[in-house]
């Protein structure tokens, strides 16, 4: 089904935010919308968005390529993105990441064997006083987890394994 039919109400709400002659502004919210749906941005979705906004597919693809939160490839059901930037690293983020990798038996950038989580490293998330911390990007958007340790994280992954969509 086309994007317009499936999400007509949300699309209308998004377009209403911007002047009608500048509807291109809706490209980012629309990409967030389709990514939430599919976990990544498919070629078909890019075509749909391009058509809806009267821009070329290449233009949409160049937006997807520019911003780190958009993904054009499938990964684990959830992306677990640990902040290892300077302030977090001063509070043990690197050691946390190392231990987590050991515990899951995967390296940064890899996906757990059952496909639940892909472990990634990111720059500052504006939570520097609550390290170690990470965000989980999944079917229901993005959620922060702060003041974490490896045990709590392993527990969370166990929950995510059985979750259907909703990040708890």
């Amino acid at each position: 089904m086309s994007l317009e039919k499936k999400h007509s109400k949300e699309i209308k709400q998004i377009l209403a935010k911007y002047p009608s002659e500048f509807k291109r502004s809706a490209v980012m919210p629309l990409l967030h919308l389709v990514q939430r749906e599919d976990g990544y941005i498919t070629k078909e979705a890019m075509q749909d968005i391009a058509r809806l906004l009267d821009i070329t597919e290449t233009e949409v693809a160049s937006i997807v390529g520019f911003y780190t939160l958009y993904h054009d490839k499938q990964a684990g059901k959830y992306r677990m993105q640990v902040c290892t930037d300077l302030p977090c690293a001063l509070r043990g983020a690197d050691e946390f990441m190392q231990k987590l990798c050991g515990n899951l038996g995967i390296k940064v950038g890899e996906t757990s064997e059952d496909g639940t989580v892909t472990l990634e490293e990111v720059t500052c998330l504006a939570a520097c006083d609550k390290a170690p911390m990470f965000q989980v990007q999944g079917p229901d958007g993005i959620k922060y987890y702060e003041n974490m340790n490896v045990d709590k994280t392993v527990e969370l992954i166990e929950t995510l394994k059985h979750a259907r969509g909703e990040v708890k």
């Binding site: 906004l53 821009i55 911003y67 780190t68 939160l69 930037d85 300077l86 958007g141 959620k143």
Partner: protein, 419 residues
């Protein structure tokens, strides 16, 4: 003293609209629209001495007065991109005291004649954007947003817009490009946003914390605001304190409070972990120059305002104070900051794109243990060559920790390289 900005710490539930109202909320906005001309509002903000909290410290009232009144419509945009490593104040303000920020945004919109305002949030603030949408809806229902506000011929709507993970979108012209649905790459300036901004129209962009000050200034007067802080930097500031302190977090203090108060005060940082000493301070996040402390009392007793911090060879910026103790290796710090800027360079100009790439390769070599003193000299040289040659400030920021790290802490690099 009661908080001016982090008022949720004194008034629980201030994020509920009726509680906010009961504590004087929206009175300033109503009074402005019903009883003041836009220029009168701008004058109060000018007289208060308020300076922008996004990093550059530009006088807010003056910026508003630059709006081009020959070209319409006008826009106001709140910069809620908050991505500087070490900065986490705007998030707390929007989460815990959202109406004060939104009221400030509304007052600014009235002052410059904008009927549409946007809040540009970094994409990671997904949940926060949804929460703000609810607050905006609450304001609409209560008659603080919409048409003919307070029976006057003034209408206003506020919309949120989510970015998608790009530090450069905090730079105001890159932010505008992004809001227009393009790649977030800075524009060549001039023209500046007050004459050529969103969709080519006059636009005022301010930081979230800047807006949050505005209702309090209108309610209590410019003189009240100026009575706090220093002659150079009026009022109060939220300091995001991180690194090796016992109690990291956001703390509101008047400008002119000392580093010692912030780092060692029992109500604030409560001292250094494991009772170590302070080696260096980065007062403006990863973009900072490194201030040498090495336990020096004089440095710790320096008042924090824009002008005085500059005498220590650094900018106060957004006041994201990262504290490094004597166990921290500056060579490692530089490696971290360079990796950050390499990742965030938007690639528009060659100096920054190539410069951050080379700086990363060299610092990786030094940090990895295979570097030589020649590599350290080369790193310093590349950083110096970049300075003054980049299209936007990000390029410049990427060199600050590098040059001041190598020049002010040479022993940390000597230790890291082969004889």
């Amino acid at each position: 003293m009661a908080h001016v900005l982090l008022r949720h710490r004194d008034i629980p539930d201030i994020k509920k609209i009726d509680v906010y109202k009961k504590n004087g909320g929206f009175a300033a906005f109503k009074n402005a629209v019903a009883k003041m001309t836009p220029n009168e509002v701008i004058d109060v903000v000018k007289n208060s001495g308020l300076r922008g909290r996004g990093g550059a410290g530009f006088p807010t009232g003056m910026k508003w007065s630059f709006i081009d009144n020959k070209n319409w419509p006008h826009y106001v945009v709140a910069n809620a991109d908050e991505s500087e490593p070490g900065t986490f104040k705007d998030r707390e303000l929007m989460e815990e005291n959202p109406f004060q920020f939104l009221e400030g945004l509304a007052i600014a919109s009235y002052a410059v004649g904008a009927t549409v305002a946007y809040v540009y949030l970094r994409g990671e603030f997904w949940q926060l954007a949804a929460a703000l949408d609810e607050k905006i809806a609450d304001m609409e229902k209560a008659g603080y947003l919409g048409d003919n506000l307070f029976g006057k011929d003034y209408s206003l709507r506020i919309f949120t817009h989510l970015g998608a993970g790009a530090y450069i979108c905090g730079e105001e012209t890159a932010l505008l490009e992004s809001l227009e649905g393009k790649r977030g790459q800075p524009r060549v300036r001039p023209p500046f946003p007050p004459s050529y901004g969103l969709y080519g129209k006059p636009t005022i962009i301010n930081n979230v914390e800047t807006f949050a000050n505005v209702p309090m200034i209108l309610a209590n007067g410019a003189d009240w605001y100026k009575s706090m802080g220093t002659a150079d930097s009026a009022g109060v500031k939220i300091f995001s304190l991180s690194g090796r302190v016992r109690r990291p977090g956001n703390y509101e203090l008047p400008f002119g409070a000392t580093f010692r108060e912030l780092i060692y005060g029992e109500k604030y940082g409560a001292g250094i972990q494991d009772s170590r000493t302070v080696k260096a301070i980065m007062p403006a996040g990863a973009s900072s120059s490194l201030i040498v402390v090495n336990g020096d009392d004089k440095v710790l007793d320096t008042p924090m305002d824009y002008a005085t911090v500059r005498t220590l060879g650094a900018d106060l910026g957004s006041a994201s104070v990262i504290v490094l103790d004597d166990t921290v290796d500056i060579n490692w710090v530089v490696n971290k900051t360079v990796h950050f800027f390499r990742h965030e360079s938007c690639g528009k100009c060659t100096t920054c794109r190539e410069g951050t790439h080379w700086m990363r390769n060299i610092t990786d070599r030094i940090h990895g243990g295979s570097g030589t003193q020649g590599d350290v000299d080369l790193l310093l040289n590349v950083a110096k060559q970049m300075q003054g040659k980049c299209l936007c400030a990000l390029g410049e920021f990427s060199t600050m920790a590098v040059t001041t790290g190598i020049e002010r802490f040479p022993q940390d690099f000597k230790k890291a390289v082969k004889e």
